[in-house]
Symmetry: none
Subunit: 168 residues, 2 copies
């Protein structure tokens, strides 16, 4: 089992809009199919599907899987275009420089509300980038949601329910 994205880091956004991807995350990005030492490290940055002010980042393997799902839909289906618009138009293919950095475009920064600092938060098979304030708020909301959704308090119960829902 490949390593996964775990942990939180806060990094600076420099004058050119560049951010360093946390080194442990780079290790994961390097673990994709076919990557070799020396190859440029690649990733895909996607605006949040729920229009929250944050960016979702995927490995190329992960995004290939999503692309394949979409490609499996009928070519002119409305769903296909709607999903592609979200997952492709609001996205960007990026390669890291030799220091493990990449540039966030002005639009991306604006939509994610990111200025001087960016929080990198691992989500197992992807990670997110938030402004420090946005991230605090998200964490609070998630905690609330978990409390509402489940009584009483067991995360594993939630996981089990989700499994039932999607895997039958």
């Amino acid at each position: 089992m490949a390593q996964r994205f775990r942990g939180e880091w806060t990094h600076k956004v420099d004058a050119k809009g560049r951010v360093s991807v946390p080194a442990p995350f780079r290790r994961v990005l390097e673990s994709v199919q076919g990557w070799q030492s020396g190859d440029p490290v690649q990733l895909v940055v996607v605006l949040d599907q729920d229009e929250r002010p944050c960016l979702n980042v995927y490995t190329t393997d992960e995004i290939d899987q999503i692309d394949d799902l979409i490609a499996s839909l009928p070519r002119f289906a409305r769903e296909r275009e709607a999903l592609s618009t979200r997952l492709a138009s609001g996205a960007e293919h990026v390669t890291l420089d030799e220091n493990g950095r990449f540039g966030l475009t002005k639009e991306m920064r604006a939509k994610a509300g990111i200025e001087g600092q960016a929080v990198f938060a691992g989500l197992i098979d992807s990670f997110q980038i938030w402004s420090p304030e946005g991230y605090e708020e998200k964490k609070a909301r998630m905690a609330d949601w978990i409390k509402e959704e489940r009584d009483p308090n067991d995360l594993f119960e939630l996981l089990y329910a989700a499994q039932q829902k999607y895997l039958g």
Copy 2:
């Protein structure tokens, strides 16, 4: 896996009706079967099948697949004729100049409502060209549609649902 069309760019339409194809899109267009460095870059521009004011652009590989798809439909099916009409009559085979530009005919510009600026929007294996206003409207519609369609919260849920619908 080849790179795919991702991201949004807004480029100018010059006095002669020319537009620059975003460089990352050119890279994808170059990735078609048999292309070599130095070869002219080719693409196919098609008027929208739903008669929206936009242009759909495909790689030559992709258009071949669509042609095959149409050929596989029953010869007298209405869908077949409708699709062929759009894809043949309202389509144009184009090669880029050495700066990565091509000329939009007056007719194309008129039908897509494009004047001073053109928005290029990636859709994984094709991309679209819109006027800035038209594109904003489309995105709003797509967002509305997604909101209606899915209960309550995850875009990927919608993706799974679409798969169920089409693939059983």
